[in-house]
């Protein structure tokens, strides 16, 4: 095992309850030095509570919390070597921008000249040194966000905590700030723990993502692995779009598996599978290839009917009815399809096919669960 000092933050079986609800339920997590780790999940999944426990605003009910290898349970926020960028910015309205940024340094007892120099430097990093003497209310949302970032960064913390910092910004600004945040993180080399419900944000900036749901971490991995190899149906559905099929494993050998998902043809994929068990299979919409009717069916190749078609400019989104009656979404890049696909109309018979690497095995379907029957659920529209 690795030494505890390799981690800036460590959760060991942490539980936090509010009343009867476990907001965070027996979570174990290790944040590596210098990494950009995102806690991603829908509201109420426990991501913000986890962040607030690292900041010291909440104390865990059970488990151990280590910051820099040292026990941090019970240590108040003002004694922790971590700083937070708040969702609402939380800038002091009665202080100038430079005084906001220098606030923490002043609490630490640093001299006037020194804190002024450091604060100016931090403002330069976020390109706002020209607004040093203004009040926060005179700045735009994006600028206030950058001041909040500078105010936390100037403390040079062991870990910087960011609580949905881009949530209040409009789309264009959000994209710009994503680049900016990543640039700054690489420049200063501080560990970032970033809370967000926006999967695109998490995918584009993080070194690793912890996908959370109902107080537990569903999967912790690099963005590509989270997208390409989701371990659970929740992760598969939350990150990007996903078509779900349910069926029984009919064969599993030599790293191949076959599932009878009732779509008329066998669904085949790579990997190990539990034989004769009912499993859930995921298919990304962009991995499905829609071609005009060719009557040729077979494994991973099924005749279907187009239910609807939507132009998204660079893409076409089809909703297709499989022979089983289930509907799936297929997305085609217009730059790479032939004109025949471009001309497909609703009602047309088409062939939907996919590569054997496309189907993802997403675990055994629990017979008790009511949602085990749904064959097609997708999330997150763009």
């Amino acid at each position: 095992m690795t030494d505890a000092n390799d981690f800036d933050v460590e959760f060991r079986g942490i539980t936090k309850r509010f009343g009867d609800v476990a907001a965070v339920n027996n979570v174990t997590l290790q944040v590596r030095k210098g990494e950009f780790l995102s806690l991603l999940g829908p509201s109420g999944c426990g991501k913000t509570t986890s962040l607030r426990m690292i900041a010291g605003f909440e104390q865990p009910d059970e488990g151990e919390l280590l910051i820099g290898g040292k026990d941090a349970v019970g240590v108040p926020p003002y004694k922790r070597d971590v700083n937070t960028v708040f969702q609402s910015y939380a800038l002091f309205p009665h202080k100038s921008i430079i005084d906001n940024v220098a606030f923490g340094l002043k609490q630490r007892g640093e001299g006037k000249a020194e804190r002024r120099a450091k604060a100016t430097e931090a403002l330069e990093l976020v390109q706002l040194s020209h607004r040093a003497d203004d009040r926060p209310t005179m700045l735009s949302g994006g600028q206030q966000q950058r001041v909040a970032l500078a105010r936390a960064l100037v403390m040079n913390p062991r870990v910087l905590l960011l609580d949905e910092p881009l949530g209040a910004l409009d789309l264009k600004l959000r994209k710009e700030m994503q680049f900016e945040l990543k640039r700054i993180q690489e420049h200063v080399g501080i560990t970032f723990v970033y809370v967000t419900h926006d999967q695109e944000e998490a995918l584009s900036m993080s070194d690793r993502i912890a996908v959370m749901s109902n107080g537990v971490i569903e999967q912790l991995d690099e963005p590509r692995a989270i997208y390409d190899n989701p371990k659970t149906a929740f992760v598969a559905g939350f990150i990007g779009e996903m078509n779900f099929l349910t069926g029984t494993v009919t064969s599993a050998n030599d790293g191949h598996w076959t599932v009878d998902a009732g779509v008329g043809v066998p669904v085949q994929g790579f990997g190990a599978a539990p034989l004769n068990e009912k499993v859930r299979v995921g298919l990304r919409p962009e991995r499905l290839v829609v071609t005009p009717n060719s009557d040729e069916t077979g494994t991973n190749r099924v005749l279907s009917t187009v239910l609807s078609k939507m132009y998204l400019g660079d893409q076409i989104q089809f909703v297709v009815t499989l022979p089983s009656g289930a509907t799936v979404i297929a997305i085609e890049q217009r730059a790479s399809v032939d004109p025949a696909t471009d001309n497909i109309k609703p009602g047309d018979r088409v062939t939907v096919s996919w590569d054997a690497h496309a189907p993802l095995l997403l675990g055994i379907v629990d017979a008790d669960k009511s949602n085990s029957t749904d064959t097609s659920t997708t999330k997150e529209t763009r």
Binding site: L91, F103, G104, K112, R116, Q143, R151, A152
Partner: protein
């Protein structure tokens, strides 16, 4: 304060929002006339009479000769009255201080920790106000009386002393301080305190640097609302001071009522107003010296 910077003049910058909004009055100005007339007749008019009285001389029982005499003001400077002036201002200042010390924590607790019970607490604070000031003060007299239940149990003998008057002042004016402070604490964004703690400020330090300056407008208003009427207090020293511990208000009352000497009473009243004005201007300057607010 922190890294000193010159107070920024609000400049019109490209990113500043809504610089060119006009606030032209939507209603004709003459609608304010009734209120203006009322003020002129009953406030400025009465003031003018008071000023005229103060420069007049008493020529006999109920007889006044108007003129420009400084006799009455010279009488005001008599050490006896100066002493009462000083006592009045000192008691009002002390009473205000005590009101602040008791009232601020109450307002803070209500605004921050009471949740949906806030309105109930607010009601409990306001309800005693629905009773006459006089009756409340008499009720307090029963409580403080050395022969009363509380007085006997605690062996208190503070009636007709500075303590009884002080307690009466604080009790009667406390809500006037709590309400404005509560309303500014209500508008407080408590995330700012988390931010301050996050930036290494200990709880009290965060309070001093963030909560206090941000609630200063309510604080200043509340303190003035309490201090000014306390200096003109008449009922509390009369009932709880029992004539042994008089305020300048009681002397003014006596001058008009029992002594039948309106010129002297007027001179006292004008002097009190002048003293108070100076006091209040200094207070506002000191209280808002550190933090000036831009909206």
């Amino acid at each position: 304060m922190t890294v000193d910077t010159a107070a920024p003049a609000p400049q019109a910058t490209a990113s500043g929002a809504g610089e060119h909004r006009s606030f032209k009055p939507r209603y004709p100005a003459w609608l304010a006339l009734p209120s203006l007339a009322y003020q002129i007749i009953f406030f400025l008019g009465a003031m003018a009479i008071l000023v005229a009285f103060s420069f007049a001389t008493q020529t006999g029982f109920n007889q006044i000769t108007y003129g420009f005499s400084l006799e009455q003001y010279k009488a005001v400077l008599d050490p006896t009255y100066l002493g009462i002036f000083v006592r009045t201002l000192a008691m009002a200042a002390g009473g205000t201080l005590l009101t602040v010390v008791i009232g601020y924590p109450v307002a803070y607790w209500m605004a921050r920790y009471l949740g949906d019970k806030k309105l109930l607490a607010l009601l409990l604070i306001i309800v005693p106000f629905w009773t006459s000031f006089l009756i409340r003060t008499y009720a307090l007299k029963i409580i403080l009386d050395s022969n009363g239940f509380v007085g006997q149990t605690l062996h208190l003998d503070i009636m007709y002393s500075a303590w009884a008057v002080g307690i009466g002042l604080v009790y009667n004016y406390l809500p006037l301080f709590i309400l404005p402070v509560f309303s500014s604490l209500e508008r407080m964004d408590w995330t700012l305190i988390e931010a301050a703690n996050d930036l290494s400020a200990k709880p009290f330090s965060a309070f001093r640097q963030v909560t206090l300056p941000l609630t200063l407008p309510g604080f200043v208003t509340g303190a003035l609302l309490v201090f000014i009427p306390m200096t003109g207090e008449y009922v509390v020293p009369a009932i709880l001071g029992g004539g042994k511990f008089v305020f300048i208000g009681n002397v003014i009352g006596d001058a008009f009522n029992s002594a039948q000497n309106p010129p002297f009473g007027s001179a006292l009243a004008i002097s009190l107003m002048l003293a108070l004005s100076i006091f209040v201007v200094i207070y506002i300057l000191v209280a808002t010296k550190e933090e000036r607010f831009g909206s």
